[in-house]
């Protein structure tokens, strides 16, 4: 009897720990629709900077784009009230892998088109492709987070 209640207390503490560790990953306000669009614009801008500019102008423009990215991360952290650290929970693994593969594919195709066809077409591909990849990832992420929140309730 005593060992049963002891076991339940230990299990309750471990459950609380799991709930707390997942919270930064799954507790978040809905991502605004413009978020994916903004990533697309950023990617198109990056393609144009790499394809059209040279030397110091290119370096400055790249630096500005990196700063914009940092600004987005800071804004996202403030919006969420927290920022997850470490390995994502295993439930998110395939969504992250698909997003990374999608981003690599978009970058590869945009680079090839930029070399063979036109920088402007490459920028369009980078923009639309990144928008699609990020939008799909956000959609998948939100669905997984909702399932996990439900499980932890």
């Amino acid at each position: 009897m005593e060992s049963n209640s002891h076991g339940e207390s230990v299990r309750a503490q471990l459950d609380e720990m799991e709930r707390g560790e997942l919270a930064p990953w799954v507790t978040l306000p809905p991502t605004p629709a413009w978020w994916a669009v903004a990533f697309g614009v950023w990617a198109a801008g990056f393609a144009l900077v790499v394809g059209l500019l040279e030397g110091a102008a290119q370096s400055f423009a790249q630096l500005a784009l990196v700063l914009v990215l940092f600004g987005a991360i800071v804004w996202d952290r403030r919006r969420r009230g927290t920022y997850p650290a470490g390995r994502p929970p295993r439930e998110f693994t395939w969504a992250v892998v698909r997003m990374l593969l999608g981003a690599a594919a978009v970058a590869g195709v945009a680079w090839l088109v930029g070399e063979q066809v036109s920088v402007w077409v490459a920028a369009a591909i980078a923009g639309v492709g990144t928008w699609a990849v990020v939008a799909r990832y956000e959609h998948e992420y939100a669905a997984i987070a909702a399932r996990l929140r439900e499980r932890l309730r």
Partner: protein
């Protein structure tokens, strides 16, 4: 006389309190976390959260930073190395107890 090690040695008395344990669980999985997020997650009052966080800060388990003024001010919490280590040890001990 030497004491034999006990299975309970890794348990941290400070983390036996559910609210403090929940705070450290969130902080262990985040870079920093705001006051409002923790308050919502724990479902506690402002004063209760402040009290629990102060106890963890006094033990060196977390740091508290305040930025801004007035309505836009933000209080953020971050787990220290010591806090993370103690939390991980506490969790490992609990898991060990469950499997014994």
């Amino acid at each position: 006389m030497t004491q034999t090690p006990s299975a309970l040695d890794g348990l941290d008395p400070l983390l036996n309190a559910p609210k403090r344990l929940a705070i450290m669980a969130v902080l262990a999985a985040s870079t920093t976390t705001d006051f409002a997020f923790l308050r919502e997650h724990l479902g506690v009052s402002d004063s209760d959260l402040s009290k629990q966080a102060a106890a963890l800060e006094a033990a060196g388990y977390l740091t508290i930073t305040k930025s801004g003024r007035g309505r836009g001010s933000v209080t953020a919490y971050k787990a220290t190395k010591l806090g993370r280590r103690s939390y991980q040890q506490h969790r490992a001990t609990l898991r060990g107890l469950l499997h014994d």
